[in-house]
């Protein structure tokens, strides 16, 4: 495990720097906690449910805010529940949409059952076949910086899978009042409730 990537470290790098032009949607579970641990921001929308909804939510946001980068940070289990959204996102060709898959090959919230990615499924490969503009599988520290650069800067839609360990992390729970999360996001991004 020592050589595998740490999810908190990867997410901190994904979210580093100024946040004004970065809109984040997190999948439920560990990815929400990782993003909160990296630094809360009103332009981050944490899902606590709605499994499978992170990518389509990012799509609607990317269409509404074409001048801003939209980054979906989600897990392998969440993404596998809505694979059709990858085809839809690719077909729509959203240039400002990026998806970072924090892939621990486990359903971490439900008892660490293995996901299909632990048994051979390659989500970045699926995204490439769906027609994403840029995809990458990052499994080593040396490739993290390039994966982060793709997520933050490359012409989208982008999908990068980061293979991480499944060690437990320090507790970091974001707000779970959905109406509050919605309102503060719109105030920060749209300037109205």
């Amino acid at each position: 495990m020592a050589d595998m990537l740490n999810r908190r470290d990867v997410v901190a790098k994904l979210l580093a720097g100024p946040r004004e032009d970065l809109l984040v949607v997190t999948g439920l579970g560990q990815c929400a906690y990782d993003c909160f641990a990296a630094g809360d921001d009103p332009r981050t929308f944490y899902l606590w449910g709605a499994m499978g909804g992170a990518v389509p939510m990012g799509m609607g946001l990317a269409v509404a805010q074409p001048e801003k980068r939209v980054l979906v940070v989600t897990g392998d289990g969440e993404l596998l529940m809505g694979l059709g959204a990858l085809a839809a996102a690719a077909a729509e060709g959203l240039p400002n949409l990026a998806v970072a898959v924090i892939d621990n090959e486990r359903y971490g919230e439900t008892g660490q059952q293995q996901t299909a990615t632990g048994r051979g499924t390659d989500i970045a490969g699926i995204a490439a076949a769906a027609g994403f503009a840029a995809t990458k599988l990052v499994a080593a520290e040396a490739d993290v910086a390039e994966g982060v650069r793709l997520c933050r800067e490359a012409q989208g839609p982008v999908l990068v899978t980061f293979k991480v360990d499944h060690e437990s992390q320090e507790m970091a729970l974001p707000p779970k009042d959905g109406a509050f999360l919605k309102t503060r996001f719109r105030q920060a991004v749209v300037g109205k409730i």
Binding site: L23, V25, F45, L47, W48, G49, A50, M51, G52, G53, A54, V55, P56, M57, G58, M59, G60, L61, A62, V63, A64, Q65, G82, G84, A85, A87, A88, A91, E92, G178, A179, L181, K182, F185, R186, V189, V190, K192
Partner: protein, 171 residues
Amino acid sequence: MSEWHDDIFDCLHEAGVRQVAYVPDAGHARLINRCQEANNMRALSLTTEEDGIALLAGAWLGGDKGVLLMQSSGVGNTINMLSLVKTCQFPLVTLVTMRGEWGEWNTWQVPMGQTTQQHFEVAGVICYRCDRPEDVQETVSTALRFAYYTNSAVAVLLGQRLIGAKIFAED
């Protein structure tokens, strides 16, 4: 083709709808075409209905009004994703063409078509129904205003009597 499809388009246009999420549907085909051709709207093709619920929530976060076009057979797919709408108080407008009711031919459409309104209401979605073309404009414009002003979820059920039952050659 009848004019009520165009009435819906006019309602969307007047309400400032920017994103029209849809799954393929014969009943909405003319409306989908008009939305695809409109300069101030983006029609987004999805592979399953629940993605439209999440997509419209994202649109609203970014300041865009949206609607979701679907068929009654897809309503069951949206149930869990509607928890996003309810928990966060997102506005939602969905225009649903009904199957499995007036003049239906396909047995497989009946279970979902006969329970569409019940499923929606249990999930917290307010239902308006339209069975006559002269009611479409007022119903859709009211649904749009109600949803966006009150952060409510509203479905307009466009009855099969309005749309016309699908007729197969072997009939």
